[in-house]
Every structure is written in structure tokens, then in C-alpha cells.
Symmetry: D2
Subunit: 331 residues, 4 copies
């Protein structure tokens, strides 16, 4: 039995807490959140107790911490958890600063604890099925990747102020998909060009960010990738990628709430994609935590390591730099 | 908090038991099965105890029984549960004899207990979405229904010996779909013609059954329905229906394990449908029990009543009669 | 070079005439129609001349007649064409009376002329692709066929007065599909049950017809078929069939004007099917005449013979009888 | 009646010649090709005569020339045709040199003749349907375009030697799609970054070309576009684009030879896309010539002008420059 504390009782913290509480062999002991009410409500709902980071780190009975706190708290919590000998599951990103992210990775290595990043897309049943076919070589060698990543709607501009910009806040997941799908054999990006605009909400420009972005990458082996991202898709959360290989192509489509198709005088209509990440990745969130504890038990390798987290952030930094300079970046 | 006992620790009993154990406000107290080992294993896994029908019916602390025992035990368990004042959730069918099924319905009414039939397809997210659009009148009045119902493979012929034949064993669900979708306003079948063959496994003919069946129904209001069913679809569990209405059509498609589409030299390939009922109706099984307890709480009407169970069995009887006589049946 | 006369300058006659005029090795010589203006206009447009049946049959330079006249003129034209030694392409049906249709077939045999029926669906690229896969045994032996056949809208009731009823007028094509797809090895229907209603337009009942029909067939080998047909599909011309075989299923979908898929706040929308038979079967109409002349040249067998025409009409008669009696028909 | 001469009796010349011969109001008079046999065979087949450019330009009875000769002959033929007062339909590209292409455009303007470029994709029924919905504003303002452009297989490397490179030879069509779809209101590209690799056939690198290419563009109004192209798609000719707009998305899918869907133990299989451009754009080739003569008659504006040809080539030049320098290009 593993005892766990969750940091963060917000939207994503509640998801993780509920999944932890339902996992066999796992006991959710503590919920920590500066917003005491949120922590208390979540703890009560799941039979856990409210606590503080200090108490958690001091409690020898806690094996694992799950970090779903605001981004700017991540690096401190990771470092202290590592120093306390706790294993760590942490939401992306590690930190908006690559230097601090690398320091976290070093602290984890030094402490010899396990640390897995919450790149939940790697656990999505559709994405993972594609990954397995690639790994088996079902359709030959990968050559070209196209990633589509669109949110259903833009958050208010002020919410994006401390986000680090669209590449660090939103495309970080897409950079991870790029590495997972196109660089599985140790290949890495060597050339990147990014650009973008404010097409959805002009307010977003006033906080120095963009809402529509495109990135092109070329790897050392010459593989090519394109990412297109927007803060708004009127038809819902659009999460697709397709990979051209030497013997064919794999396309990962969106998931729909139902398989009803309606035909009427206006056309033939299928459901929109599932609304947003909580719906689309509901199963992925469950599976990533199951994988975390299974891997902790078996001693195997995590599907998403803290090094993956650092690597994705370096790409996000390079994209930010390319956007600013108007030039390509050599990595 | 409702206390529940489950009868039956077989394939479907285990599904229901696990769903019951996970429902908030419900405590799974007992598991009963003449196969003691199965009962013990399931009870241990879910924190329940092994018991017997006698003990369950005598235990005033039990509010609800969930019947997932073999078909020939259903009517006795329903009757005794009703007489003991327990609310009842029962897998289809009530009984292979319509007379005994009606007697069960009377026992339930006499006792004033609640009884819901496990027609889980009414809780499938796709089928239910279609039902809701019909109820809202999104595409006008229903006129014609086509139901496709195919298992991935035929069971051994000897297994079908006591099944009551394909209409009672397999199409009972499709008859329920027919009534749910096409007869929502109180309409009922008035004409039925059925036929069929042994095309999959000639052994099935030796036990007096068929493996491929087609049924046509016409309602009092002139609506039309066709059901086609087979014990074998090489591509997996095929569960679809489409309904033509005055202003359009709704088609309910199969669910797939993933949304990966592979294009290669041989074609463009999507996943097969989910393998069988445990996969396809996993969510439906969960939702039907949640509905049962919510409705018990709220005092509202169940989506599937014991009367629905009797009505579906009457149609199965009529289809069996039509197959035997080679003639249409007027209901 | 084959010289051809067309009888009928209506909707379907114009289609055939234009296709004939464009066929290499074929000269459209004459257009005949009691509506002189229609004939003159069509002839002028295609560089042909107006004529009369008498003159055509007397003209030794005419090799082929294409009959697209009203149904009640078919049998007389076929018989006279055969007696004049002309090869015949004739629109379905041969005649509303099976006895007269059989007499036509005998006249054709006696004269030793070639005669092909215009069951154009057998030339539809999608349907024909399915047929070829069946013939190759790609997915094993055929077991069960489901045919969907729906017009975009019902004609005025008075137009249906002399049509012979929905089974002879509309489902004749579907009966031919049934024989072509399910009876390719010489199998034939041995049991049929049909029913139907007036759900679209109550006026149609006043002329003794129905607008919604369902038919079930079982062949001597036990194969099963269901046809569902309606005079109205609000979403356009719906022409599909699916065939379950021992190793899988083939589904023939509708054709669309474009492959645009629109996603918006209301859903994900594809085009409606092509509007009606002139659009959906445009290519099939062209291909069936090409096949006619190629086969005439090569001396091979037509894909659709006058015997196919008689056989389809017998099924239409049986369905009409079943509808009237409320009973199944043994063939 | 317009009299036409065709230059070029190769693959695309034969397509255009056959379409010209079938157009009402158009007479195909001459076929010119240095390969005399090819010209003679094509002329004979379509009832035309063999000729030479000199004779054609000197023949006052010729109204229109259709240029389907090798690329390096285009600019000379355009210039001489213009000087002879012939209207011009010309296959892309005008010339591999933008300077010469601009000189052609000036010659055309100076002569006051009509000149249309053969960007046939603008006439594809699917692409054109998308264009019309954009023009009507059905889904708001365009923001982001993703173009997928993949050939079924790479030509031999030596064939690509004089092609001008993948951007001028293959992506020229995609640059035109970009301008047509994303710049309809006069917007133009202002920033472009391209890269690519030899992933399909290393021989192609030896002639200084690549076989896999990606391009990113940003317009003056901030709209974004990505093009991905490969000389090889194992599943056939892949010609798609999707456009994200403020109120939704339009996706243009591939066309298939049939609408058969096969389900079997291996999956659910649809047809591959139509094999290559002769199949996919068969209808587009027909429609573009019909448009040319209708527009010539009506005096309206061509859908694809020689200026469009120049503009697409400038983008191809910029992409070639970006590939070579590894840097973005400001236009």
C-alpha cells in the first residue's frame, strides 16, 4: 500500500485526487492547498485529511506526492519532495525556467527518487495505439508529423499573463508528442521555426502573448514536424495528429461523446469532439496514475520522465525565441 | 445508504457487483452463488460477504437484490425477493415462459416493491443520445427502424440448448429496442413475421435453434421495423440501429477501441467495433445501476420496467411461433 | 458502327440518348416520342432525327433500339423490335404483368435477338465493387443482405395510380439487387413476407398504394434478406446495401457531391447524399450502355438479362400479394 | 465556335485535348508536338490535324492555344501566342524563372489577350465547395490553413533534374491553394520558412533536390499556413486541406474510387484515395477548360490568372531560398 499526498485542489488536482483514491493499492492520505476550503472539501469527499507541505514532507509514512499546484510552486515542491525521499508525480511544466527545471531534474537524480511528468496525452488510448503501431513498425519508418492542437476557447487575457506564453503553456504538450512520436529512437530536433498571431482575441496581444501559433521542426535524421495550435476552435477541443511513414500513415482522430449520425435536410451530422481536456483525457488521467504506481512497483521506466519535461521546455523556449526574432533556431 | 445483495457471481454478476461496490450511497453486502468459490472470490475482492438467498431474504437490513443468476432461477428469486419486500434489479429475461414472467410482474406489483429490468442498451450513451433526440422531436416522427444485432461468434451448440432459442436469448434486447425507440408513445406491434436459418454452425440446428434471424414488425400506427441478427460477425460485436423519421434519420454506430485510422497500400483502416458486450456496454452497465438507485431515491419511473420485460418476451414468443409456422403473426 | 433508335424523350430517355450519342462506335439515328416537341428537341441537340416506331422497325439500317418509353408501351415495343430483328436495351420493368413479361422474353428468345434490361444499379461503381469482392470470395460466403432504398420525396399520389404499386414501381430494383448479390450461384427466393404503410402522404393510400415498405426474403439455401424502402428521406436519395458474409461484411454507402466536412458549434457536417437517381446513377447509366455494346460486340453474356427482369417482377408480385393477404408467400 | 490548337501530346496534353474536343462550341483543330508520332496519334483520335507552332501562330483562324508542352517551352509559347493575338490556356508553371514569368505576364497584358493558368485544383468539386463556403462567410473569417500534398510515389531522380526543385515543381500548386484560400481579400504572404529532407529516395539528394518538404507562411494580416508535402504516400495520392476559421473549420478530404466499406477480422476498411492526379482531378481538368471558354465568352475574370502564376512562383522561389539558407524569408 502506497500513501499519497496531493498538492493542489484545483481543477486538475481534483481529477488526480479522485483517480488516486480509486486506485487499488493506493491510499490518498492528504490534500494540501493554500485555499483551505478547497482542500477541506476535496479531502472530505475522498476520505483524506487536509495537511501542509511541511507536514507531508516530514511524514515518513508518505511515499508519494502528486503535484498539481500552480506552476510557480512546482520546482520548490519537487526539490523538497526529492530531498524528503518522496516519489513524485508532477503536472507539466516543471518550471517556466529551463534552468530551474534542470535543477529539479538534478535534485531528483541526487535523491534517487522516482519522478514522472504528467504528460497525459501519452496515455490517451488513441494516441497510445498509434505509438504502439509505430513501435512495432507496422507502417515503416516515421518521416513527417502533423499535430493539430486547438482549445475550444481562449481564456481571458489576464489569465495568460504569467503563463510563459503559448509555447510554454499550451504547446508544451505538443512538443512532448513530437518527441514521443518522431524521436523514439533517440533522435532530437535540430532546427525549429515558429511564428504566430493574435487572431482570436486582441487583448491577448496586450499581455505579450499570441493565440494562434505554428511551429516547424526538423530532426537530426531529417524527419519533419509541423504543429498548428489555436486558443479557439468553435467546434470544440481539437486534438489530432497524423504521422506519415515509409509504408503508410496513422491518423489519430478526436473522440466524440456518442456515435450518433444525424441525416437531415441540412446534411449528415456527427457529434463535435469531446468538449475539453477533462473529457477527452479523462481515461488518460486515470491510466497515467495507474502506470505511475505499476512502474513504481515493478521498477521499470516511466513513460514520461522529468528529462522529457526538460526537453519539451527547451523546445518551448526555442519556439518563443524564434517567434520573437522572426528567425529559425538551430538547436 | 442502500444495502445490496447480488445473486450470481458469473460474468455478468461480477460486472454488476463491481459497479454496485463503486456506487456512492450503496453498500454491497452479500454475494450469493451455488458455485461457492466464485462467490467467495468476488466477495473478497469487493469487501462483501458470501451468503445464501434464504439468509438474504431473511435479512431486514438488505434493501435491494440484484439478480444475475442463470435464467431459470430468475422467476423464483424475483417472487421471493418481492415477498420479502426487497427492491429488485434483474437481468433479462424474467423467465422463458411469458406466463411465469407475468406472474413475477404481479408478485412485484402486489408487494409494492420496485423492480427494474437489465436492458442495459437503453443506457448506452449512443443509443440514449438517439432516444433523446427522438423524444425532443429533432427530426420529426419515427417511421421505420432497422436494427442490426450480431455477436462476434456463436457459442457451442450445447450451450444454446436451454436458451429458449435465438429470439428469447438474443433478440430479446432488440425487441426491447424496438419498443423503446418506435413505440415511445404507447404504440405496440400488431404484426410480426420472422424467419431464419442455420448458416454459421450446423450443430445449432441439431439443438432445434437457428443462428441467423430476421424479424419484421408493423405497429398499430403503421410504423415499420426490421431486425437482422446473427450469432457471428467476423469483425466483432455489431450493435447498430437506424431510425427513419419524417424529417431525417438517426444512425447509431458501433464504438471503437481507438480513433486511429491507418492508411497503407491495402486501404484505409479503422478499428473493429469493441469486442463484445462487456466492452461495448461497460458504461451502460454502470449507468443502469446508477439510474436504478437514483430512481429508487427520487421515486420516479424506471427507464426499464418489469412490464417492458414481459412485453419483449411476448414478441420473442411471437417470433418463435412465426419461425415455426412459416407464417406471419397478428398480435 | 451500330445504329440506334431511342423510344422515349422523357427524363430517362434523354439520359440514355446523350450517353448513346457519346459512345464510340455507336450512332444515334432516331428519337421517337409521341410528344413530338420533346423528340424534336432531343434529336436536334444530339444530331439525330425524329422518327416513329413503324419507320424504325422497318429500317434495316437500325441495329439496336433503346426503350425508355412509358411502362405500358414496353411489352409491345420489345415484341415488335424482336420480330424486326433489332437488339434491345429496355428500361425496367418489362411489363406490370408477369405473364406479358414472360411473353416478351419468349419473343426475344424466338427472334434470337439480344435483350438487356436497364437495371443500372448493377453498374454503379460502388455496388459493382462490392459484387466483385463477393465474386472473388474476399470475405467468404454471403449470408444476410440488408437493402436500404429511399427516394428523396414522394411523387403526387395521382402519378402513382398506374405504377403497379410500390413493389413493382420502386422495389423492383431492390429485388434485382437481392438476386444479383445474394443469389449469384443460382440460389433463388423461396419465402417472402412483405408489409407496409402510408406514413408519408395519406393521399397515396387513396390510390391503393403505400409509401413505406419492408420485405423479408429467405432463399432455398437459407440466406436471408431484408429490404426497407420509403418514398421520402428528408436527407436525399438513400441507396445503400450491406451484406454479411462468413468472413466479414461489405457496406455500400451513398455518394456525396463533395468531400468537404464542416465542423462548427453545431457539430461535424458532411454532405447529404447525391440528390436523386439522375445524379447518383449518372455514371451507372453511362456504363450500362457501354457494357451493352461491348457485350453485343464480344458475344458474351449481359449483366442483366430479360430473365432477370421477369424474375424481379415475380418477386414484386409476391410482395404485393403478401402485403394484401397479411401473410408470407412461399415461392 | 472557337478554334483551338494544343501544344503538347504528353500525359497532360492528351487530357486537355480530349476535354477540348468534347466541349460544345469548341473545335480542336491542331495538335503540335516535337514527338510527331504522339501528335499524329492524338490528332487522329480526336479528329484534329498535326501542325507546328509556326503554322498555328500564323493561322488567323485559330482563337486559342492550350499549352501543355514541357516547362522550358512555356514562356516562349506564351510570348509568341500573345504576340499573335491568340488567347492562352497554359499549364503551370509559367517558367522556372520568375523574371521570365513576369515578362510573359507583361507580354500578355501588352497584347490584350486572355491568359489563364492551369491551376486545376481550384476547379476540384471538393476544394471549390470549400472555397464557396469561405466566400459566403459560412464559418467566419479564415485564420489557419493546413495543406497536405503527397504524391503516391517519387519519380526517378534524373527526372527531377530540370524540375526546378520540389517547391517549384510540386508545391507550386499548394502555394496557389494558399493564396486562393487564405488571401482571397488581397492579403499576401509576408513571412515564410521552409525546410525539408531526402527521406524517400537518397538519389534525389544527388540531383540537389529533396523529397519531403514543409513550409510555414504568415500573411500581412497575421493568418497562418502550413504545407506538408512528400513525394511518396504508400496509400496513394493524398490531397487535402483544412482551414480553421473564426466560427469553425472546413476539411477537404480525398476522393475514393468507391464507397465500399469492408469489415473483417483485420478491421474496417475503406478505399484508398484515387490513385494520382489524372484520377483525382479528372473532373477538375474538364471544368477548368469549360470555365476558360465560358469566361472568354462572357468577358468575366478567370479564376486563375497569369498573375496568380507569377505569385505562386515567387513563393516557390522564397521557399527554395529558405531551404538553402536555413532561415526564414521576409517577403
Amino acid at each position: 500500500m502506497k500513501n499519497v499526498a496531493v498538492f493542489g485542489a484545483g481543477r486538475i488536482g481534483r481529477i488526480h485526487a479522485a483517480n488516486l483514491a480509486a486506485l487499488p493499492g493506493v491510499t490518498l492520505k492528504y490534500v494540501c492547498d493554500p485555499m483551505g476550503d478547497a482542500a477541506a472539501q476535496l479531502a472530505a469527499q475522498l476520505g483524506a485529511q487536509v495537511s501542509t507541505p511541511e507536514a507531508v514532507f516530514a511524514d515518513a509514512g508518505i511515499d508519494v506526492v502528486a503535484i498539481a499546484a500552480p506552476t510557480d510552486a512546482h520546482s520548490d515542491l519537487i526539490t523538497r519532495a526529492a530531498q524528503s525521499g518522496k516519489h513524485i508525480f508532477c503536472e507539466k511544466p516543471i518550471d517556466l525556467s529551463v534552468a530551474r527545471a534542470q535543477a529539479c531534474a538534478e535534485a531528483v537524480r541526487a535523491a534517487g527518487v522516482a519522478c514522472m511528468m504528467g504528460f497525459q496525452r501519452r496515455f490517451d488510448p488513441t494516441f497510445n495505439e498509434a505509438k504502439e503501431r509505430l513501435a512495432r513498425g507496422d507502417i515503416g519508418k516515421p518521416e513527417m508529423l502533423v499535430v493539430t492542437s486547438r482549445d475550444p476557447g481562449a481564456p481571458p487575457a489576464h489569465y495568460l499573463k504569467g503563463s510563459g506564453g503559448i509555447f510554454r503553456d499550451m504547446l508544451i504538450h505538443d512538443f512532448d508528442i513530437f518527441r514521443w512520436i518522431l524521436c523514439a529512437d533517440g533522435d532530437e530536433a535540430e532546427w525549429l521555426a515558429a511564428t504566430g498571431s493574435c487572431l482570436v482575441d486582441p487583448e491577448i496581444a496586450t499581455v505579450g502573448d499570441i493565440d494562434s501559433a505554428v511551429v516547424t521542426l526538423r530532426t537530426r535524421q531529417g524527419r519533419l514536424a509541423q504543429i498548428n495550435a489555436s486558443r479557439r476552435a468553435a467546434y470544440g477541443y481539437d486534438q489530432r495528429f497524423e504521422i506519415l511513414c515509409s509504408n503508410g500513415m496513422l491518423q489519430c482522430g478526436n473522440h466524440r461523446p456518442s456515435e450518433v449520425v444525424q441525416s437531415d435536410a441540412a446534411g449528415v451530422h456527427a457529434d463535435k469532439p469531446e468538449h475539453f481536456f477533462l473529457q477527452r483525457y479523462r481515461e488518460a488521467y486515470r491510466l497515467e496514475l495507474a502506470h505511475f504506481f505499476e512502474t513504481l512497483q515493478s521498477g521499470g521506466a516511466f513513460r514520461t520522465t522529468i528529462e522529457d519535461g526538460v526537453a519539451a521546455q527547451k523546445l518551448a523556449d526555442a519556439a518563443s525565441e524564434s517567434l520573437a526574432s522572426g528567425q529559425a533556431v538551430r538547436l
